[in-house]
């Protein structure tokens, strides 16, 4: 997540609003991925996500005047992206209404995590396997919506609690509760799969080696999770 609302960024926004529309291209470049991934993580459909990302960016362009600069620009953009994803999800649900699709489980009630005492870490190198990436995408995409939205913003887009709360219009306590629930649901679904389906060659160090944010090659791990945990 880029630090937004910098002086430079404010200047770019002011120029676009003042009529230099071309500057918008430069303004959004750091956020192309943010907007696409937010929508894709929810819809798990490339075409829809790309179209949605374009619509979200165009909407941001048309409404840039209404951006007051109180929130980060990135948070404002991600709110637009999330609304676009919700709109498309609603449309897809309406289309599926007459089908036999079960409604998404609301996920309330007690949960029991998957207990696998012989659990071993899955090395990041396993992500080279398309099948694993798709399994992770699917697990996120099938979370109940209210948990999924929080998970996408917090753990994939790496927004902080306050930004996530602002983007979703909920309070920070609810962000924490829903994030916990989302993570535990993913643990339930994914832990058995990872344990049984992902080959582990036993080479190299495990992914989480005494809590150090490095993978087996000693390279800093991508994504912001470790940064948050271990700083």
């Amino acid at each position: 997540m880029k630090a937004a609302a910098t002086t430079d960024e404010k200047a770019l926004i002011a120029r676009v609003v003042a009529g230099e529309s071309e500057v918008f291209h430069e303004l959004i470049r750091p956020y192309e991925r943010l907007v696409y991934v937010t929508i894709f993580a929810i819809l798990k459909n490339e075409t829809e996500a790309e179209d949605g990302a374009q619509e979200a960016m165009i909407s941001a362009f048309r409404n840039l005047k209404s951006f007051r600069g109180e929130a980060k620009f990135s948070t404002w953009l991600v709110t637009i992206a999330m609304n676009e994803a919700r709109k498309r999800l609603r449309k897809a649900k309406t289309a599926a209404e007459d089908s036999l699709d079960e409604p998404r489980d609301d996920g309330e009630g007690d949960f029991t995590p998957e207990v696998l005492t012989d659990w071993r870490e899955i090395p990041l190198a396993a992500l080279e396997r398309k099948e694993l990436r798709e399994k992770l995408q699917e697990a996120v995409a099938t979370l109940p919506q209210k948990y999924q939205e929080v998970f996408v913003l917090r753990d994939i887009e790496e927004l902080n609690q306050e930004e996530t709360a602002a983007a979703l219009g909920i309070n920070v306590t609810l962000v924490k509760v829903r994030l916990h629930r989302a993570r535990m649901m993913l643990q339930q679904v994914l832990a058995p799969y990872l344990r049984s389906e992902v080959p582990f060659r036993g080479q190299g160090k495990p992914l989480v080696d005494q809590g150090k944010p490095f993978n087996a090659q000693g390279k800093s791990v991508r994504g912001g999770f470790f940064r948050r945990w271990f700083q």
Binding site: S21, E32, A126, L136, L186, R195, V208, R222
Partner: protein, 81 residues
């Protein structure tokens, strides 16, 4: 404070985000030291979150950026035209 497994599960997320207060943190850590089950749940959850946060899980379609900027350019042009 002595915690049962079930109580520990409720705090896994808070633990990973370093949001537990000192007393609770101590109780959770004490439990984890002696409970293989809860340690495994914690490790698997942490691992799953590291995997899902990796950029490789969500890749941009080839040509996405080019098409995005073309579309924006078209919108800008139609506005000016």
């Amino acid at each position: 404070m002595k915690l049962e497994c079930k109580n520990v599960w409720e705090h896994i997320s808070g633990y990973l985000d370093k949001q537990l207060d000192a007393e609770l943190l101590e109780a959770v850590e004490k439990h984890l030291e002696s409970c293989e089950v809860c340690s495994a749940i914690l490790d698997s959850t942490r691992n799953i979150l590291v995997l899902t946060a990796d950029d490789r899980v969500y890749e941009l379609p080839v040509g996405y950026s080019v098409r995005l900027h073309e579309r924006i350019a078209a919108v800008i042009e139609s506005r000016q035209g």
